[in-house]
């Protein structure tokens, strides 16, 4: 199929907390800072709303990378949510790495509402990493892949 000849366009799921990172993305937009269109933002109330299963689900649905962005430690709208997210995601990322899934495919970063520039930088850097890694062949779900992606 001619589809294979097209350059690799990754799919990146970005879980952004409503109070900091999503506003940071807004600021990046209003500041006219460019970040790749392959980053699909999913708004969550808090970074600790991200159940480890959400990350697995994103990979299942064909994501090549998953990034979770939340408020800086100490700045959480719900006071302590991001501390829980930090532990949870450390263990999840470690487990994914242990199963042989490239550890560069997962990332967690803190982006505040005032950091539009950081948002664009983080997303650009992460997207570059995923481009360098290529398609995710080690973790997915054939039932969930679309005809185009195949």
């Amino acid at each position: 199929m001619s589809v294979d000849k097209q350059p690799f366009k990754p799919l990146i799921a970005a879980f952004c907390c409503n109070w900091c990172s999503y506003a940071g993305a807004d600021l990046a937009g209003t500041s006219r800072l460019a970040y790749p269109a392959e980053v699909k933002i999913i708004r969550v109330p808090c970074s600790c709303r991200v159940n480890p299963l959400f990350v697995l689900r994103a990979f299942q649905r064909g994501a090549d990378g998953v990034i979770i962005a939340g408020c800086h430690p100490g700045d959480c709208h719900y006071t302590t949510g991001n501390y829980y997210a930090r532990r949870r995601m450390t263990l999840l990322f470690s487990m994914l790495d242990y199963l042989g899934i490239e550890k560069e495919r997962t990332k967690l970063d803190w982006i505040s509402a005032a950091e539009g520039v950081k948002f664009a930088t983080v997303m650009n850097d992460f997207s570059k990493e995923i481009h360098a890694l290529g398609r995710n062949t080690r973790f997915g779900d054939l039932r969930c892949t679309t005809a185009v992606a195949q």
């Binding site: 302590t80 450390t90 263990l91 994914l96 042989g100 973790f139």
Partner: protein, 311 residues
């Protein structure tokens, strides 16, 4: 029959005769002689079926959670590895300690029948024990085997039985390259037949409704179409037990496919020990598990990326 079996049976008899408990959770003699199942004994007379030998691997703590609604006290026999899961279930209010008569019993390690079979010992009729040796009467004659060679995986790192480090195998796995690990798990996990035995036997899995039973998930009661499904199943299972798993080794023991599931559970425990301090489940209030608490100094997940030895 070795000595400890008689004393345990005697203890069980005393408990039931004196009425200290309405019922006793123990193990029932199986016709095969090596596949003893957990059973409830309601009177001393029923204890004829009772057995405690080197094939009583099953953890009785989980059944205790199921007997929570039963009236009267339940006596339970707990081996060292089962006590941890008992403590966890008490901490999570799955067991009412007031309703339980707890009997701690000694254990010198349980035997893995699969390891016996892998040594070429087949057609097993009866197994007796003397000292460190197992005398196995098979259809093809008498066989002998040192019991430490055929212990269950969980017993190999039990402080009461052996001095081996539980995390050695995990450390070795971590040292392999990412691709090697991927290939290893692909081979190991693709043998999964999704029998759910690991979940059913797990003392930590006490949810009344389980996501793996959801008929709308498209995965319940169905063999995997590809390796990814097994990967997801085991990741989800491990994560539901993360921070609560007591490494009782039930999942590995019951797995009909011999998948080394303990490598997954111990990885989580090892990470918790290294990053957040020794995982301990005893004498802790609810809400103080590794994943239900935090400290301001916790490491950022980027430390996983900074680990050496990739690709």
């Amino acid at each position: 029959m070795h000595n400890s079996s008689c004393t345990v049976k005697e203890t069980a008899r005393k408990i039931l005769e004196s009425g200290q408990a309405e019922r006793l959770l123990g193990w029932e003699q199986d016709s095969s002689g090596y596949n003893h199942a957990p059973a409830v004994f309601k009177s001393a007379g029923e204890l004829d079926r009772f057995i405690y030998d080197r094939f009583c691997g099953s953890n009785l703590s989980k059944l205790l959670a199921r007997l929570r609604e039963a009236e009267g006290r339940t006596a339970v026999l707990l081996k060292a590895c089962d006590r941890e899961s008992f403590n966890l279930l008490v901490r999570e209010h799955r067991i009412d300690p007031e309703q339980v008569h707890r009997v701690d019993i000694e254990c010198s390690g349980m035997v893995d029948i699969e390891k016996l079979r892998n040594k070429g010992i087949k057609g097993i009729r009866e197994i007796t024990e003397s000292g460190d040796e197992l005398h196995i009467s098979t259809l093809y004659g008498e066989k002998r085997c040192r019991s430490e060679e055929v212990l269950l995986e969980k017993c190999l790192s039990c402080p009461a039985v052996s001095s081996a480090d539980a995390f050695d195998a995990v450390g070795q796995m971590e040292e392999r390259s990412s691709l090697e690990r991927y290939e290893f798990w692909k081979e190991a996990l693709s043998t999964c037949i999704r029998c759910n035995a690991c979940r059913n036997s797990c003392p930590v899995c006490t949810c009344e409704q389980c996501i793996f039973d959801n008929p709308r998930s498209g995965t319940a009661g169905k063999a995997s179409a590809d390796f990814f499904e097994d990967q997801h199943f085991h990741l989800v299972r491990v994560f539901h037990a993360a921070g609560r798993c007591t490494d009782c080794g039930e999942c590995t023991r019951v797995c009909p496919q011999g998948i080394p599931l303990y490598l997954l559970n111990r990885k989580v425990i090892k990470d918790i020990n290294e990053l957040y301090g020794e995982l301990s489940l005893e004498d802790k209030e609810l809400g103080k598990g590794a994943l239900t608490s935090f400290s301001f100094q916790d490491a950022h997940p980027d430390i996983i990326r900074k680990r050496t030895g990739d690709q």
